[in-house]
């Protein structure tokens, strides 16, 4: 038996598309609903574990806060220690001049009395102290003399009175023998009255060796 269908083909196509869209929407709705139900089920099923995790998280938070406080405290202690260390380093870098004074007291003996001990750190005049050194290269040409830098030598100035000229000279020799000084210069000597008799006054300039400080 013949069946005829004169419904326009574009209309049938539109209808097919609409039906397909409806099926898709239904499938998506069902999927969404199932996913939602599954999510809700999981939420209820694992509710206790979530609470325990929250508690652990709170404890961890408290620990972190305690550690933060301790770190802050340690940091302030560290800063104080750093300051103290810097001060100590500063102090340690200064020379111990008391040792020098003790040495001078041992060297002067019974014939010499020191009236004044002073330190002078003024630079020496380079030209007067350092000689000019001439060098020759392999080509035979002479080079310019090297200009010496001014020395910042520390000078120990000793003013005192000796029983005699010999005692002063022996004192100078003893100073030179200590090896502490580059040079010991007798800057000035003179006779002066000392108690009932006479004595030799002197002024010595001792240039300390570099590194002996």
């Amino acid at each position: 038996m013949k069946r005829v269908n004169l419904i326009p083909a574009p209309r049938l196509e539109q209808r097919r598309c609409r039906a397909h869209a409806r099926r898709c929407v239904k499938a998506c709705s069902i999927y969404t609903l199932l996913a939602l139900l599954a999510a809700v089920g999981c939420r209820f099923a694992w509710n206790d574990d979530t609470d325990a995790a929250e508690q652990r998280l709170a404890i961890a938070d408290a620990d972190v806060q305690h550690i933060d406080v301790a770190i802050a405290r340690c940091r302030s202690d560290l800063n104080a220690a750093k300051v103290s260390l810097a001060v100590n380093c500063q102090l340690v870098s200064q020379p111990d001049w008391s040792l020098l004074l003790k040495l001078l007291a041992a060297l002067n003996g019974d014939a010499v009395v020191l009236k004044s001990v002073a330190l002078d750190t003024r630079a020496e005049a380079a030209a007067s102290v350092i000689p000019v050194i001439q060098t020759f290269s392999s080509s035979g040409k002479s080079t310019k003399p090297l200009a010496a830098e001014p020395k910042r030598a520390v000078r120990l100035i000793l003013i005192g009175t000796g029983e005699s000229q010999l005692a002063v000279t022996q004192f100078v020799v003893r100073l030179e023998k200590t090896g502490l000084f580059d040079r010991v210069i007798v800057a000035d000597t003179g006779r002066e009255t000392f108690m009932a008799g006479s004595a030799i006054s002197f002024r010595l300039e001792c240039i300390l060796k570099e590194g002996e400080k």
Binding site: M1, K2, R3, V4, N5, L6, I7, A9, R11
Partner: protein, 349 residues
């Protein structure tokens, strides 16, 4: 394990929207034999008025109350918008028949080939012609859409837009098969349609000229000066047998109806003679009457005598066992036995 729905499986609702009635039939598909699940013949609010949305809108509710289920429907294409005929195929390639028929239908109806919907099927060999022939029918998309939009906007789901001739051939196929061709005459208000069926396929279709019921009805009203309802009664229920006597009114009515039936018989004889000649050697063995006027008393014997053919009226009750008492509209004939439901039943099959 098989799950069964509580609702029995039903066919789509066949709806035949005529100028006077909405005929609707739904079949029970679970029954091994064809069985009517619901049937309705509903008079229209305004006879012969064009279908409107306001008229169709309450139809789903009415059908549900009458025992129909579902919203799938099968409609018949309007007869005046449907076109077609027998076309000769230049090629023996059967796969090209549809394309050739489409182009030929578009050419004869002056429209683009893609603006119409059509179908075709081969017919028996035609006398004197060696080429193959097909029966082609079609309808413009615009015309089909108008009809479909009206019903779909009321909530129906149009499953198919069939042709009346194919629906009648399906209904007639419920009868025991007969050799040769079967003629089906559908006498309805807007037109009378002659369909010839051979081996279940429609091989000839023709609208007979000047034989519609509307014309006879108007003649009864004008000549007898009677009310429309009385003219309906004379035409559809009284007929030739129920008007004995020599009263002038009865004589006039008998004259009008006899004249109508004689004219119809003449037209039928001409058309059937043409078809018999066309399909050489295939005789018409029986005439089946259906439509609004097929229940008219005396019409079978009158046409049978004139045409010398076995003639019978087909109604849903004849064609299958009714599942339940069918509903009838208030002013319509008894719907269960009404031949006016034959086309709707064919659409539902």
């Amino acid at each position: 394990m098989k799950f069964r729905s509580s609702q029995p499986r039903r066919s789509p609702i066949g709806i035949d929207a005529g100028p006077r009635y909405f005929a609707a039939v739904q079949m029970d598909e679970e029954s091994p034999r064809p069985r009517i699940a619901a049937a309705l013949l509903l008079p229209r609010e305004q006879f012969s008025a064009p279908l409107s949305h306001s008229e169709i809108k309450p139809l789903p509710t009415i059908l549900r109350r009458a025992g129909f289920s579902g919203n799938k429907i099968v409609l018949a294409a309007p007869l005046d918008k449907q076109f077609g005929g027998i076309l000769e195929m230049p090629s023996s390639d059967t796969s090209a028949y549809t394309q050739i028929s489409r182009i030929e239908l578009a050419r004869t109806n002056r429209c683009a080939p893609d603006s119409l919907e059509m179908d075709c099927w081969p017919v028996p060999e035609i006398a004197g012609k060696s080429a193959a022939h097909v029966m082609a029918v079609g309808c413009r998309h615009d015309d089909a859409s108008k009809q479909l939009d009206l019903f779909e906007s009321a909530g129906f789901d149009a499953h198919a837009l069939d042709i009346r001739a194919a629906a009648l051939s399906r209904a007639a196929a419920l009868l025991p098969p007969s050799p040769g061709m079967t003629a089906i005459l559908d006498i309805s208000w807007p037109a009378t349609l002659l369909v010839l069926v051979c081996d279940g396929d429609v091989v000839f279709e023709r609208r007979l000229a000047d034989t519609d019921l509307q014309r006879v009805h108007e003649a009864l009203v004008q000549r007898l000066h009677v009310e429309t309802e009385l003219a309906d009664y004379l035409l559809l229920e009284a007929g030739l047998d129920a008007m004995p006597g020599d009263a002038p009114a009865a004589r006039s009515a008998r004259t009008i109806l006899s004249g109508y039936l004689d004219g119809l018989a003449t037209e039928l004889a001409t058309s059937m003679g043409y078809a018999t000649e066309k399909y050489d050697g295939v005789a018409i063995m029986q005439l089946l009457l259906c439509g609004d006027a097929a229940a008219m008393p005396g019409i079978c014997s009158r046409l049978g005598d004139r045409l010398k053919l076995a003639t019978r009226t087909i109604s849903p009750a004849d064609l299958c066992t009714a599942a339940q008492p069918v509903q009838a509209g208030q002013s319509g004939p008894a719907a269960g036995n009404s031949p006016a439901l034959a086309a709707a039943m064919g659409l539902a099959l």
